[in-house]
Symmetry: C2
Subunit: 522 residues, 2 copies
């Protein structure tokens, strides 16, 4: 067997089941090996941002890494933005990048690029096996790196000659290598006890939870703490995975704008953070603070990112809320609205029709601020967001989520500007017959940037309607784009149309796209 | 005026006329400044690979840099692949990347990324003004860096607070800064004389020319040398800009595969290179050489990349071919073929109908090997290729070329796999009403990778038809994609249809797309 097959067999032996790929010539032996290792499902993306975003979505729903295959530095570059989002989601990814053979690189051929440097910008480890005999051990080490709590992007650069040379599935001692993930480090009891003291003190407190605390156990612990102490609970701004809907406690996300967050935290004397940094501005503005902990309030770190956040929250609840039950939201769908779709009405439609057990991908930016509250009493579902704030993650996340959870309906809500970056995700959805309904919120502008004008302050050089923020002229026909990639499409301009089209899309197998036309922000 | 306006006014004052942009919040003051500086044309791309590829195409045809505006590290990542191609084309680009303010970065906000590290992978200088007063000087220094022969990607990172703070258009001494490009270094006469001696020796020689030698003056000098000495002349594999067609000498490109190049150079005792590295393999294969200079042949460097290649060629011609005239190709179009389009017939159609003074973008990969020879006697035109070999450059290059040369017809020939990476270039073409005809050679596969299977050698694990090389299932409807982005589209399956549709597309203003269906490689 060659080095490429040794790599994939080792990963498959360690439980890795999916490889998202956009290969080139230097990765052809990996393509061949994917055929030879049927335990590993190969999924083709036509753009590397689809590949890396899908690996992120897969990791969030499967709870384990997928592998990628990217073509040299340019392929890694195309994939970098969604690897950034994956890093912020703490998603484990085995990121395989092909390279020229070492004896070729020294000639500086046209496609030569500095893969190591670009990969290191993701802050994860980067390995490069020197020969095919070392591939298996490097594969296992890369997988172990990816699984290092809280999860990271571990890159393995595979030179083409290492792929085509003879390899083995064994570590340096001839044993089939295996990986044992390091357990998530626990928070010291003294830290939890000290924060319990703060809460018992009775001063106004806020609890901001992130990372794994978005799952049911973390939400329930936070709910108990809130019930017992009156602490206000918030989710971080963008969450990797939040369990949401009837039967679970629901908390608002921290706001996008500094003033929103300062309002949410107004009067608080203590800000307790668990699995997320202290509240900060997403973007900076002149004369606005970056740190959004109110003046005079103290910050307390219950759990650092990468520590056992859910365990710490549960232990804290046991200290301050012994015997208290969490307070879940009861089932309650919004009344079905009528008439034209607006930023206000579309989330109510979703609340009214959301199916059981859905996976909701939320890349709605400015158009989706009402979605979270509207769906709190809808049937239970998971919500995935682009944690790093880089646009173009939504439809790829949906690809990965649908492959990890093939029997659940996936609904990806996409701002129009975001959807364009990774359009060819639709083709992968069609090819793999994934049960994804893509809903494009089309306001024909970079609406979030129009809002930002106001927050940056206006001066004579800041027109309100700069053409660079206008996505009309020409209007983009998302229904046409979907059909061209093999995905059935339809257009909704009213609440009734959106509901009908959603119901139909979800009831039919395979992907669909609905273009939901909403008014542009004035 | 703020720092953003100071940046754009300084660049405009130094002659920069176009800014290709995909901005985000951190670049909003640059967006405002683009409205305030009407001398600078702002062109919106919906994906950063369109922005950077367009800047490359513009530089090649305008002979001077455009500016880009990219959003933080993720935006730079998306733009990296076509910046790689631009670097290999030695295209000067003023690459502006917005960033968080310094006081914000220290909080590690969600969109924080290591822009410097990623930008440095492009091997060009990276600057970051510390305050708005220094922006003007940094802008000029960045422009001077970009113009450093042979041209490079010079990056200017603009923190948002530097953009919004008060700035001036002046250098450190209060003067309006200006830039004087360093002249291209000349080749020493002794080097040229020594190579003239080699040629006078009468042994078989090949002359491989690249970079600026693809323009008329370089081609004519090479033609004189060939006429006088019998040297075989070749263009480098992928050229940034070749002047081609009736009235000019025409030389074949070096081949893509090692065996092709070794055949082209068979029997040669001397390989003289001018403005390009010595012949080498584009990709490596087991048991094939990387260096493609034949055994026993000597390599002679007439001009390094970045030296005055055309001057050196002309001086060499004056030494060895005094009084000899260049030998141009006479006007001769191919006979118009009939019947189904194939890899063999479509280039003949182009030869038959190519209009006067066209700009041809060639990203045809495996489908376009016949185009160069077929168009040698067609009306004179320029040819641009993706010099770095990274896919997805063609339609963006066409955008930049059309903006640099608005009165010339631009025809972009695109392999289907390549076109998908930067599809939204079509939207920019529609918005700017650019005279571009996009011809998609649709063989519904990564055909070049199928060819590579053979070259890598087959074994039991290498199936001939791996699904990862198949772009059908579902078939992509490029006509539908074009229309959805506001570009009229049509489909051609015969030579006659392609000719008719090309003639119509070229005669109508604005962009068009023709999907030319050709058989997949078996």
């Amino acid at each position: 067997m060659n080095g490429a097959e040794s790599l994939l067999r080792t990963l498959a032996g360690a439980g890795i089941e999916v490889c998202f790929a956009n290969p080139g010539t230097t990765e052809l032996k990996l393509v061949g090996a994917l055929d030879a290792v049927p335990q590993m499902r190969a999924v083709l993306g036509l753009f590397e941002g689809v590949v890396t975003g899908a690996a992120d979505g897969y990791a969030r729903m499967a709870g384990k890494p997928a592998a990628t295959v990217l073509h040299l530095g340019p392929g890694l570059g195309h994939g970098l933005s969604n690897l950034h989002n994956a890093r912020r989601a703490n998603s484990p990814i085995v990121n395989i990048v092909g390279d020229h053979p070492t004896h070729h690189k020294s000639y500086d051929p046209p496609l030569e690029s500095d893969i190591e440097t670009v990969a290191r910008s993701l802050r994860g480890p980067v390995r490069r096996p020197e020969n095919a005999a070392g591939v298996s051990q490097d594969a296992i080490s890369t997988l172990a790196d990816a699984l290092e709590p809280p999860g990271q992007i571990a890159t393995l650069i595979m030179p083409a000659d290492v792929s085509w040379s003879d390899g083995v599935v064994a570590d340096g001692n001839g044993n089939q290598p295996s990986v044992v993930a390091r357990p998530t480090p626990a928070v010291k009891p003294a830290v939890i006890e000290r924060i319990a003291e703060v809460l018992r003190g009775g001063e106004e407190a806020a609890l901001v939870i992130g990372g794994p605390a978005g799952r049911a156990a973390g939400l329930c612990a936070a709910s108990r703490i809130a019930a017992a102490t009156g602490a206000r609970v918030f989710l971080e701004l963008y969450s990797s995975r939040v369990e949401h809907g009837a039967g679970l406690p629901s908390f608002p996300h921290l706001g996008f704008y500094p003033d929103q967050v300062l309002h949410q935290l107004d009067g608080v004397r203590h800000v307790i953070v668990a699995g997320t940094p202290a509240p900060m501005a997403f973007f900076a503005y002149p004369d606005k603070p970056i740190c959004l902990v109110p003046d005079g309030a103290q910050t307390h770190v219950l759990a650092e990112v990468g520590q056992d956040t859910t365990g710490a929250l549960t232990a804290l609840a046991d200290l301050v809320a012994s015997g208290r039950e969490p307070e879940p939201i009861g089932p309650s769908r919004s009344a079905m609205p009528a008439g034209p779709l607006t930023v206000e009405t579309w989330p109510a439609v979703i609340s009214a029709v959301l199916p059981e057990d859905a996976i909701v991908v939320d890349e709605t930016i400015s158009s989706g601020t009402g979605l979270h509250a509207a769906t709190a009493g809808a049937p239970r579902h998971d919500v995935l967001q682009a944690c790093g704030g880089a646009m173009g993650d939504g439809m790829p996340l949906a690809v990965g989520a649908a492959i990890a959870a093939p029997h659940r309906p996936v609904i990806a809500f996409e701002a129009d500007g975001c959807a364009i970056y990774t359009l060819s995700a639709l083709w992968t959805q069609a090819r793999e017959r994934l049960n994804i309904t893509n809903v494009i919120l089309n306001n024909r502008s970079y609406a979030t940037l129009r809002e930002e004008w106001q927050h940056l302050g206006t001066d004579a050089s800041d027109p309100h309607t700069n053409t660079l923020l206008d996505l009309g002229n020409p209007d983009i026909d998302f229904v046409g784009l979907a059909r061209a990639f093999g995905v059935p499409g339809s257009r909704a301009t009213t609440a009734e149309e959106l509901a009908d089209q959603l119901n139909r899309a979800i009831s039919e197998p395979g992907p669909h796209l609905i273009e939901a036309v909403i008014p542009p922000i004035a």
